[in-house]
């Protein structure tokens, strides 16, 4: 299940939607808006998330299907928020479920790592003066993805 949404979501409800007696293991990754410093060293007051929605959904679906197959998952849920988010708000949730834990854990990490470098979302810091400041892609995220590419394909 893939969702790109403006509103927040409830972890218990999202879990219930994909839970099944055939699973013994669920791994979650939840990303939230961290109180961060802007490049001019002032505290940010939130973030803005831009998205190319049609492309992001197709990219997320591809990552999801890879994960389902490679790690024999029962389900893989990905929710990503868009728009303006305040400090502490949920940005992204990945839940993977499987019979045994090692599969769900590894798959969950793969999905969030892939999402960070391969899916059409862009993050901006919201500054006190009302301006937006672009967040740059991290080199370490790209380097980590090279490791996964040896495992997937």
């Amino acid at each position: 299940m893939i969702k790109i949404v403006k509103e927040s979501f409830d972890l218990e409800n999202e879990f219930k939607n994909i839970s099944s007696n055939k699973n013994g293991a669920y791994s979650f990754f939840l990303g939230t808006v961290r109180s961060d410093l802007s490049f001019s060293n002032t505290k940010i007051k939130g973030i803005y998330l831009e998205c190319y929605e049609e492309l992001a959904i197709s990219q997320l679906e591809k990552i999801r299907l890879q994960a389902l197959k490679k790690w024999d998952l029962s389900e893989c849920l990905i929710i990503h928020r868009i728009g303006r988010l305040n400090l502490g708000e949920k940005i992204v949730l990945v839940i993977t479920s499987s019979s045994h834990r090692s599969n769900s854990i590894e798959a969950c990490e793969y999905v969030i790592d892939s999402l960070k470098i391969d899916v059409a979302f862009w993050k901006f810091h919201l500054l006190d003066n009302g301006e937006k400041e672009m967040v740059n892609q991290k080199n370490k995220d790209n380097e980590k993805m090279l490791k996964w590419r040896e495992i997937i394909n």
Binding site: Y52, H80, K116, I117, V119
Partner: protein
């Protein structure tokens, strides 16, 4: 024929618009389109010089400058993504 171009992140901010609808008399290649855009606005020179920008044609990554663009095509210019 019409081609839609979608702009994201710093490209959208720099161009001060999220998309363009380009009207053309005849089918042209991606390379010819790039030259067209540069002749209209030199900002495109900067965009096309940036190796980190990716191009998507109808939701698939486009790496072939000689690809002929067709009526109704949707092209997107994507800086490195930073979601999650």
């Amino acid at each position: 024929m019409n081609i839609t171009i979608k702009y994201f992140s710093w490209i959208r901010v720099k161009l001060k618009k999220s998309h363009d609808l380009i009207e053309l008399d005849k089918a042209i290649s991606f390379k010819e389109l790039k030259n067209n855009l540069i002749s209209k606005d030199p900002i495109f020179q900067e965009i096309f010089k940036d190796d980190s920008v990716k191009y998507f044609l109808n939701l698939n990554e486009l790496n072939d400058n000689d690809r002929i663009l067709n009526n109704g095509d949707v092209l997107a210019f994507l800086p490195p993504v930073t979601g999650g």
